[in-house]
Amino acid sequence: MAPDAPAPAPPGATAPPARPPLPGHRAMWIGICLEFLEFTVFFAVYFSARWSHPQAFQAGASRLWTTGGVAITAAMVTSGWLLTRMLAAMRAGRRRAAQGWLAGALLVGAAYPLVKLLEWRWNQAQGLDAGAGIFVVVYWYLTINHFIHASWGLLGMAWGLGRLASGAYTPADHRGLESLAIYWHATDLVWLMLFGLFYAFA
């Protein structure tokens, strides 16, 4: 017997209820907690700037493009919903359907960079560049960082779609897809915070 193997349960003893398996890979959960830590630091930057320059933050938000913020929220949330459908199809053993849901999630998620592009053009037209004050600097700092994280998520979806099409995942083991969904939902959670900080007041 291996030295660290668990001792056999005495006869008649009730086994503790088995814990459900962790969704996705443990490394992804650690990864998203680090992402949260990173954004907590960014939020600390936002709030310290806001406490020092309240007027700039009250006036600044009205210069942003609310429609763009709402469109990105819709893209993130809808893409996240499509990922939950993809996982449900995968668990039910419907691989073709899962491929369709994942392709849909990627397509809808790809609206984010497109809207971002329009938003950058809007900002340029409004003169919202790095020299436009503390509020705009913080806005760029946080939203560009989020855009980078979402881009990783979109690349992950494209990768997952390729792997799914090649038969790399099974109904019994599709933790890679679960990890992908966890990452996207975590990035969506961060976006919901950014929406409250910037776009809701625009």
Partner: protein
């Protein structure tokens, strides 16, 4: 073929996910409306609008964590870390509004 109970469970999960999606979109619209109420105003009306946005932000985060991220299934440590993160912005936003109203 998957057992009948699992199919029912999956159906319930799918329905919850769809309702969550609709709720997240509706709450986003409400956030914009709430913030608009405080726009151009100073003092306590602005504080109330900001608190409403903070509360809606917390509600949206709760829905997402519960029904999409399913953080509870990841165990108590990850679940608490995710919950702690989701509380930072709504709390800090509410405090900032108060600070600004008190002329900080």
């Amino acid at each position: 073929m998957i057992p009948h109970d699992d199919t029912d469970c999956e159906r319930r999960r799918a329905r919850r996910a769809t309702l969550t999606w609709a709720a997240l979109l509706a709450l986003t619209g409400l956030s914009v409306l709430a913030a608009g109420r405080g726009h151009g105003h100073a003092g306590w009306l602005r504080v109330a609008a900001t608190w409403a946005v903070a509360a809606l932000c917390a509600l949206k985060a709760d829905l997402l964590i519960r029904h999409y991220l399913e953080a509870r299934a990841a165990g108590p440590v990850f679940h608490r870390l995710v919950r702690a993160f989701a509380a930072v912005v709504p709390l800090a936003l509410a405090l900032s509004a108060l600070h600004e109203a008190l002329g900080g």
